[in-house]
């Protein structure tokens, strides 16, 4: 995709587009969390009994577990006030023309169908609780690649799903993953057979439209031996006064010599509690690349875990968080080095302004057998004023001496001198700050897919508008 096109199509976006609200014409809407609601959801989806059993077990687990006793306060979340299931359409379709107009309109403005035409191998779109669209080019289907909604995968490939579902992230991991498994709906399923390389990415876009609603999509990706996949996840929601909840789950399996690049741009509105869980198992010489951009949400708690199970497995983790007024973004990652000569490279940057809080937790566990492993963790934070906060919390457990480990953390403030210098070159104070922040974020933006790199710079620009009072 030519860069100019990308700029043009991203250029028409404004905050208003992220704020686009489709009229609320959902077919079904359920509030709260009871056995009755869960049975209804399961029935609606025509699920096999083993799936309902998982949901009910998860329900039980949710009520047994407490909120985490660390991190941001989320005690004001009352699940009975959340619309836990919002069904927007009767069924998912394969053509954009068949998506109801008011929903299609939102995705059009976000540039999703356009991106699919120009730069993607396949695309999926979720609206509230259900996917409304999924499509994969025919030549890829013929190669045995599967890219469907999670619900469809349960129907069409039950054995494959059963083999992996809940195997990376167990139900009892924490309270909100239990909630997820009780209510999960939508999400994507990807299966890449052996020796298959996709030259273009797949993208699933998750849009939460209904006020006060929760989104609990489940994404399961299996990349078989010697295969390669780039997967992009986009998320956004218009702003409301009510609290919205996102408790998604991503389970990734990267087999021997396989390579998965998993990119996420979260641009939730600032009434969103984003309590998301992601985990990846990597086998011998396999590689997982996480690329994350966290912009929106009131509170985020997200710490993807990579388990490097095979010799020579590696993880690259690249993250950028931007917390403005009233936002508390608590992110980070977990690493388990479980085999010899495993490698992790972590680069994280965070920006906080107007009292926003960014916390980055890194938790690395290098086991005894992981001899000859290498870890390099770097965290940089930029605070734009004295009322904002940035914390880096490393917890490292190293059980072998035969390891190279580097951990670097820097915290900086935006300098008045640099702003003044740029102002003598004609930039306003907010333009000066935006340029400095853009430069700070540049090494991370460079690793995003091109459309998202442009969008990220736009988001930074939007975040910094009106910086001066």
């Amino acid at each position: 995709m030519a860069k100019t096109n990308v700029e043009e199509y991203v250029d028409v976006k404004t905050r208003n587009i992220y704020n686009e609200k489709a009229e609320n014409k959902s077919l079904k809407k359920e509030y709260g969390l009871t056995r009755d609601i869960i049975e209804k959801i399961s029935k609606e989806k025509n699920e096999p009994k083993w799936v309902l059993d998982i949901r009910l077990k998860a329900l039980d687990t949710y009520y047994k577990l407490d909120n985490p006793d660390w991190g941001p306060d989320i005690s004001y979340l009352h699940i009975e006030d959340i619309a836990t299931y919002v069904k927007p359409v009767e069924k998912e379709v394969r053509k954009w023309e068949d998506v109801p107009e008011e929903i299609r309109d939102v995705f059009d403005k976000l540039g999703i169908p356009e991106a699919e035409k120009t730069s993607l191998a396949g695309s999926g779109a979720q609206f509230d609780s259900e996917t409304v669209y999924h499509n994969l080019t025919n030549d890829l289907k013929e190669k045995g690649i599967i890219y469907t909604s999670f619900d469809e995968a349960l129907r069409e490939y039950p054995d494959l799903v059963k083999e992996y579902f809940t195997k990376a992230v167990p139900i009892h991991d924490h309270k909100y993953i239990a909630l997820h498994y009780a209510l999960f709906s939508g999400g994507s399923f990807v299966y890449i057979p052996k020796h298959t390389k996709l030259d273009r990415p797949l993208q699933s876009y998750f849009r939460l439209n209904a006020p006060g609603a929760g989104q609990f999509e489940h994404t399961l990706i299996i990349v078989e031996e010697d295969s390669e996949l780039q997967f992009i996840e986009g998320c956004s929601a218009p702003g409301y006064n009510e609290l919205n909840l996102h408790a998604g789950c991503v389970e990734l399996f990267v087999k021997k010599n396989a390579h998965l690049r998993f990119s996420t741009i979260e641009n939730w509105s600032k009434n969103m509690l984003n309590l998301n869980t992601k985990k990846c198992f990597v086998e011998e010489n396999g590689k997982i690349e996480w690329i994350m951009g966290s912009f929106g949400s009131k509170v985020s708690m997200l710490y993807p875990l990579s388990v490097l199970n095979g010799e020579g497995a590696s993880c690259e983790f690249t993250n950028i968080s931007f917390a403005g007024k009233g936002q508390n973004l608590d992110t980070g990652l977990k690493l388990i080095h479980n085999a010899p000569r495993t490698t992790s490279v972590v680069n994280s940057k965070s920006i906080s302004k107007d009292g926003g809080i960014c916390t980055f937790r890194s938790n690395a566990w290098v086991k005894k057998q992981a001899k000859g492993s290498k870890l390099s963790i770097s965290c940089e934070s930029l605070m734009m004023d004295s009322i904002s906060r940035s914390d880096t919390i490393p917890v490292d457990t190293i059980e072998t001496d035969d390891v190279e480990f580097a951990h670097e953390a820097t915290v900086g403030k935006i300098s008045d001198e640099a702003i003044y210098y740029l102002m003598t070159r004609g930039l306003s104070e907010s333009e000066a700050k935006a340029l400095i922040v853009q430069g700070f974020a540049e090494p991370i933006a460079a690793s995003f897919p091109v459309e998202y790199a442009v969008e990220m710079n736009r988001l930074i620009g939007l975040e910094l508008e009106g910086t001066i009072g």
Partner: protein, 248 residues
């Protein structure tokens, strides 16, 4: 009426806890087509003058005013002053990590002119001037001032002056810390920029940068006031005898 810069009875104090008075009734008038030089001992207020013209938040104007082309610019926001055609070369230019020199130049040029610029022809213009200033071509794609030597940073300031083409260029000790060749390059840059419609104000400690320039006036600044104005021979006199005569 061809006064470009006119400063009358300017008094300033530092915007910090001490509120020290720095400029104490400074008058200065520069016409289009002129090169002026300000010399003075350390702490006399030379850099304060440059930064006060630019409404630096570090200084407060307590009395007097500054006009540019007949328009009062005292206390205008810094970026507005830049847009009106004032440029300053900094003693210690800032580094902007992650922003390439070319991207920086494009951004500033667009801010000053308010017009979208054509990148291809702009890059040609950049290349023309980097050659003149003996800057390596690869510099334009490097991060702005990151890892540049002192001399390279100063050349970069002159490059910006040439590309932004202001009405008034203030060079605040641009020559300090430079070797002979680099000083020559800076002088060359000033001559390239200079024409009958613009003006230069050079703040310096040494006369080396003045060789090859047609200097119209030299001012001696002591304790916040201009105590003597003369032609280029005054600079030579200072170089030989220092400021003793003016410090009582």
């Amino acid at each position: 009426m061809n006064k470009l810069l006119d400063i009358k009875n300017l008094h300033t104090m530092a915007e910090d806890d001490h509120k020290k008075k720095i400029l104490k009734g400074l008058d200065l008038s520069i016409k289009k087509g002129e090169i002026h030089v300000i010399m003075g001992p350390n702490g006399s207020g030379k850099s304060t003058l440059a930064n006060t013209i630019f409404s630096s938040p570090r200084y407060i104007v307590t009395e007097g005013n500054i006009t540019l082309d007949g328009e009062d610019i005292t206390n205008l926001p810094t970026n507005e002053i830049a847009k009106k055609g004032v440029f300053m070369s900094f003693q210690t230019p800032e580094e902007i990590p992650g922003v390439s020199l070319a991207q920086f130049l494009k951004t500033t040029k667009q801010s000053i002119t308010g017009e979208k610029i054509n990148l291809m022809s702009f890059i040609k213009e950049i290349d023309k001037y980097t050659k003149e200033l003996n800057m390596r071509e690869e510099y334009t794609s490097r991060e702005f001032n990151v890892g540049f030597s002192g001399g390279e940073k100063k050349k970069n300031e002159i490059l910006q002056m040439l590309l932004l083409n202001p009405k008034l260029a203030i060079l605040d000790e641009t020559d300090s810390g430079l070797d002979v060749d680099a000083i020559k390059t800076v002088s060359k840059g000033i001559n390239l920029y200079k024409n009958n419609d613009n003006a230069v104000l050079i703040i310096t400690h040494s006369t080396k940068i003045l060789k090859g320039l047609k200097v119209d006036k030299v001012h001696i600044l002591v304790d916040g006031k201009i105590v003597k104005t003369g032609d280029s021979s005054l600079a030579q006199e200072i170089e030989e005898n220092g400021y003793k005569e003016f410090l009582k």
